[in-house]
Symmetry: C2
Subunit: 97 residues, 2 copies
């Protein structure tokens, strides 16, 4: 496989893996359904993606940097929805009337 095709393979792979988190973020925003989402996963994943972003910056690799910056923003939004929605559900509601 020549260099250009390999580069395209990388861009398509990055677009799919990064873009997929936009689908999860939209699904969570629309349904507010977070019980099936693992808090552990999104915590570890967010730290891991932040490290990949640092890796791309140090390596001065724009593709790695941009893909992971976008993924980090999306993963953080899913993590934030998970934490805020579940915190609200646990808060005791004031008695009505």
């Amino acid at each position: 496989m020549d260099h250009l095709s390999l580069e395209w393979l990388g861009y398509v792979a990055a677009t799919l893996t990064t873009g997929s988190f936009a689908l999860q973020a939209w699904h969570t925003f629309r349904t507010r359904d977070v019980s099936g989402i693992s808090l552990g996963m999104y915590s570890a994943f967010t730290v891991g993606v932040a490290l990949w972003l640092a890796y791309g910056v140090v390596l001065r690799s724009w593709p790695i940097g941009i893909a992971n910056a976008v993924t980090l923003a999306l993963a953080l939004s899913i993590l934030a929805m998970k934490v805020t929605i579940e915190t609200r559900r646990r808060r005791p509601r004031p008695p009505r009337g």
Copy 2:
């Protein structure tokens, strides 16, 4: 940052992002709660990771290859649980007694 530290940064990042899917797979296996998981995300993500695996094989890069092979197996298991659990829930149950 010297080369060795950069390599370690990559291994730690790969371990966190790959390992995080094991946490989601275990959470889904334990709770059977798949409604909050986006089918679109895991479909796109699985294809993307498969392409990253091909990218690593062509590049003969063991870290990229191994990390994405493990992530692919985990993402496929989450996707399979999502599809099978929801298919069973939609199937009409035979009347009891």
